[in-house]
């Protein structure tokens, strides 16, 4: 079945780079459809002003540029950080959490533009294709999804460049780095090239969002981060919007070289893959969040929540942001955060940060006096005997049974 004519109008997640420019042209050639370009500002630190012209030059019938930074942090990053979500014990999910928002915005444009298809530049070997497409299908279960990397035969750099040359797409004279990366307000990721040897240390020039710890200030710096219902709302007393707050933490993280991660992780598509990440502000945020939780969160609530983190993180990593299971789990997470109101004091120094103080005027569950006077009112040491005796009972009965058998 010929693809040509099977689609009328496609919305493409477009970056202005070589690959998505080729895709833009390829969609027109291969599907004979109109293409609407779409770029979102999630804090990737690039100028997007030139993109509309570029898209139109390559053949797009329209181009939408959206600033999604506040929505990104408020509705995606913050809910995820309420959960302390960490994938495989280490990864703060900076790329994973951006994809659903791009998919959402892209589908809104598709609806507005009356498009019947959407397309993206993610390859067939990675997680991002899954995250994009599960998002697309959530908003329109019958949308046509075009994933050129899974369809075309442009499977080498030279084939791509030949295609670009043939269609008059300008080829950047030199790619700055041989590895690939993805950046937004939460993080930057790197993969490929020298990283493919998991034993070799990542080169220093790779890092963009963090100084080399050795070059960080010789003096520690302290931050006070305030939380309301689990979300950070102020830094050193300055109240900030979600995106502005994360930007501010990123600046501190950069300065002190905080948030580098070198990880060999398991992709959803079944293979292991080496990634290097910088999450400067996010790393500080998680540490501070844990600090406020320490003083405001009940023990059993924390244990329950912690036991669900791997599952929550896998949902986000695998692309199931818009899923009933993530939504159900989020209600629990959000409920646990109602009391997470307070301030953490965090010390930043040469590549790491740690909580050194925490307080809560309204929701502190800590009272040093339980450990000293007022014993008669709330804590009677003698109670501990009964507590231990009854907790030991099943273990004692088991020991008796074991002895009985041995005897």
């Amino acid at each position: 079945m010929s693809k040509y004519g099977s689609v009328k109008k496609a919305v493409l997640a477009y970056s202005g780079g070589l690959d998505t420019s080729i895709i833009l042209k390829w969609l027109i050639e291969e599907y004979g459809c109109e293409v609407v370009a779409f770029s979102a500002d999630l804090g990737q630190g690039e100028e997007l002003d030139h993109i509309p012209q570029k898209a139109k030059d390559t053949g797009a019938v329209a181009c939408h540029i959206l600033d999604l930074r506040e929505e990104f942090v408020r509705d995606f990053v913050f809910p995820m950080f309420r959960a302390n979500a960490i994938y495989e014990g280490r990864y703060f999910l900076g790329t994973s959490i951006a994809r659903p928002l791009i998919a959402k915005a892209q589908m809104e444009i598709a609806a507005k533009e009356g498009a019947d298809a959407v397309s993206h530049g993610a390859t067939g070997k990675g997680n991002d294709q899954v995250r994009f497409e599960l998002g697309y299908y959530h908003f329109d279960p019958s949308v046509k999804v075009i994933a050129p990397w899974r369809e075309w035969d442009l499977n080498s750099r030279s084939a791509l460049e030949a295609y670009a040359k043939k269609h008059g797409i300008p080829i950047p004279t030199s790619k700055k780095f041989p590895w690939s990366s993805d950046r937004n307000l939460l993080h930057i990721s790197f993969e490929g090239d020298v990283l493919e040897d998991p034993w070799a240390e990542a080169p220093e020039e790779m890092y963009l969002l963090t100084r080399r710890p050795e070059d960080a200030p010789d003096q520690p710096e302290y931050l006070e981060i305030e939380f309301e219902k689990g979300d950070a709302v102020a830094v050193n007393g300055e109240r900030l919007s979600p995106a502005a707050l994360l930007e501010k933490l990123n600046a501190y993280g950069y300065e002190h070289g905080i948030g580098r991660l070198d990880l060999l992780e398991n992709r959803y598509v079944g293979m292991k893959s080496r990634g290097v990440y910088e999450t400067p502000g996010g790393t500080i945020l998680e540490e501070a969040h844990r600090g406020v939780e320490q003083i405001t969160m009940d023990r059993e609530v924390m244990n329950l929540r912690d036991s669900l983190i791997p599952r929550y993180a896998a949902m986000v990593y695998n692309g199931y942001w818009f899923s009933p299971e993530r939504e159900a789990l989020q209600t629990l997470i959000d409920e646990t955060q109602q009391t997470v109101n307070g301030v953490a004091r965090v010390k930043l120094y040469k590549g790491h940060c740690r909580v050194v103080g925490r307080k809560s005027d309204t929701h502190s569950l800590f009272n040093p006096e339980f450990a000293t006077f007022e014993a008669d009112e709330v804590y009677n040491q003698a109670d501990a005997e009964g507590f231990i005796k009854l907790n030991a009972l099943r273990l004692r009965i088991r020991s008796m049974m074991n002895k009985g058998k041995a005897g």
Copy 2:
């Protein structure tokens, strides 16, 4: 009922310090029993040679000194680190894991000595009483446990000193620090005094096992740590016994100021409590262990294991080391570690450490070629479409149902 005469011989966990010296005397006076002192070397860094004389001077009929360092690391620390056990997201359980071993050794002495009671110096407000006593009951469900802090009326420093003076127990002229601490090969903990204000930073002079990060070397240092079935066996190519290995890592951790933690945690007895910890070698160990797991452990195994960490950690923290549930969970943990064979390369620098490389000659599940050629054999990008389509199916059906209702 009078206590006097109710017990014939008690084994006391004895440190030689003021408190347990008073307890030794008090047991003799109050219970009219013989007291056997027992001290174990778990790497607390104190000379134990003088203890037998001291114990006998205070009235003990015998004193046992045991070097348990290898057993401690091999049979307690290492199994726990196979699980990557961390309590409340941060604490490496250094005190928790020592108590069951002390209880075990104490009960062995009780059996040998024909004692009918055991005693310890833990207070009625903490976790340690639980950890000791659950251990005692495991080995002898009908042993008599004497916890003087829950019984006596010596509830102030001055009452204790008066009792000591009255019974000729020497009172140290000055306690070095006003806070209390517990040390072994894995860590040192601090609590009390200035720490009772959870907002105040712990004073620098508190730290013993780690240099101030600011004073650590200006150059990073690299370690290569080798693992077999999840246990570290060599550092920089030098094969070491468990205790020797942990000591070596402690030395590196000290030098680079690694492993400090300031935590407000939830005690098993129901209150929050602020603790400061130094776990220099353990912090490096966990990081390196994760590194080798990254390259050798299956994705779903890791997710399953990670989801059980909070439960495992709570078992250890709460004192349930000798329990059927910990043992059952350990079999799963140990099974997951059969493939964890390889080497991690860790970078140490001014207060933190991170994995920068990992390899496994025998159990690597990483192959960069899955991401490049050999596509036809193992990975076909087109397969991803079916993978996504079927994973999306339930979400699409749900979206259709939602739209149908809205429509």
Copy 3:
């Protein structure tokens, strides 16, 4: 310290029976306090009219009778059934779920009456003392709790009867049955006496809420039970209040001998205990609820929820209804129930019931057509290949690694 005078006014959970009558008197004698009696109708099937007179005759200064049946089913039974909570794989928690409500009502009366203490008749060996007291403390963390069974020396039947005789409390001429029981709208429980031999079958005359299955009708009967957001709202088309609905299901359950359970269970206080239960309506309710969930609930949501049932059930069994962890988990449960709208058809016959049909006009996720035509739109069989290939990838890589080692 003398108890006398330490309490001014106590509210007692009072049944009018011998034990709580003795407690009423004992409180007056022992504590020198005023006693307010309190009885709640939770559907235990006993006349409560005579209770106030009896309480006053025994010395109570006041007596409160409350009909809590609707609140019981609506706010306690139904939320728990939304979770499909089952303890140790079998028990529907009929006693466990009633205690928190009694505690709540009792504490409201204590507040109204200005009482400074509460008391109950649960023994020191069971779960109920925990459930009552955790409830009391939730509503007033400084309330004085008096648990006579843990305090007094009336530890035999004859001691109790002697005390009753001495204080003019009428002793029922004959107790009907030698075992003890607890009944409410959800269930009746039995324990003690002949049940203490776990190998011996419970006698037929024990059962009260279910006919002997052998005596049930020879013809099966069908019920249609409708659910809204996980709660049953109608039976055979008749819309009923929560309590009326449960009563109706109880009647059906009685008729067909449904809901008997013989269980050896683990008490929270550490021992095993044998209980026999009848939960006629609840058994039907759970079966029907599962039926509607089958057609309306997402797969991953169900898996997540099911994995949390043992934890939820333990919370209820152990008395943590009024706890932040149960409340957090309930938000997740309730979120999963938003789509559970539909009707189940259940077949009742001689001791059991099972779903034989289910439908949902608004939230069905079942469409047989996905399995037949419309293949091109929603399901393409060829997609399954990619789905399997990618799901198999990590397993194949592992097999290759294993073979490589062997080779």
Copy 4:
């Protein structure tokens, strides 16, 4: 790329029926390969003697018939029943557990025969294709898998029959029933046809392995089932091999109409599907197993295990029997079963069964005396006060905090 010649020899899971006969012929025609037929006796109750001749008549170069009944029950059914595995709260996984064994045996034949491909008759819409193929890949990660239903265009009954007629394959004159089914020693499943209306009750003539409960004996019958390390070993004192034991329980289950299930379940491939199941012996087995666990299994072990059942069951249902995660979980399950030694007494009556007694000479953790005398030794009622007080502490502190805020 032509398929013809791409494969040299394929082993086909062959039943002798129309569909796999057509597949046999189609493989020869389409792939130009030799085909080896393979049939396994898993207790499907059909004569397999005629199969080799039939296979050869249709063109097979060889045919292997294996009796796998003992292996099936011993190494697949029993390990799964040790886990009390139940999918979506109801399904005993009778089909799911058979597929991995078929895949294993088929791959052994492939190895013996030097075959380079395997094939099966499962459709592209079901779970069985996944279960087969994950099994195949486990044993040989580079085996070629041919799934004709995902490849060919014989997508209707008439196309199949035309193909059969053209190739001289005999077409059964009448299929007995319009629904499809799968049977083995553990169960029979039904799906399709009239079951596609989830509201309509399954017809009585569908059931094969259970009598109509109405036709079951009017008198209950009792069985005593003995377990060793979680596996059933004897019925009414008669020691039996695993397969013989399950057959015996099936006979009892048949007689009393036990083990019918009507379920709308979630397939791994993303859709809901209605199935009717009969698991007569398995239903009795699970009930009895729970009975022995009640008296021999520790509370926390049971809670841990129960919380992992949904995950274990999903692994089996989805086809991950031969996976590292199932194997890791199995080690935990098997460890929990070391003490599960004893006898359950089960009452069978008209469609259901329930435990009415249980005992264990060697591993009972039940002792009614803990509830009566010996109080001083093992259980002191006064201990309960301390137990409750300390368990209540965090809840009381929370209440104080809440009141403080309100005040």
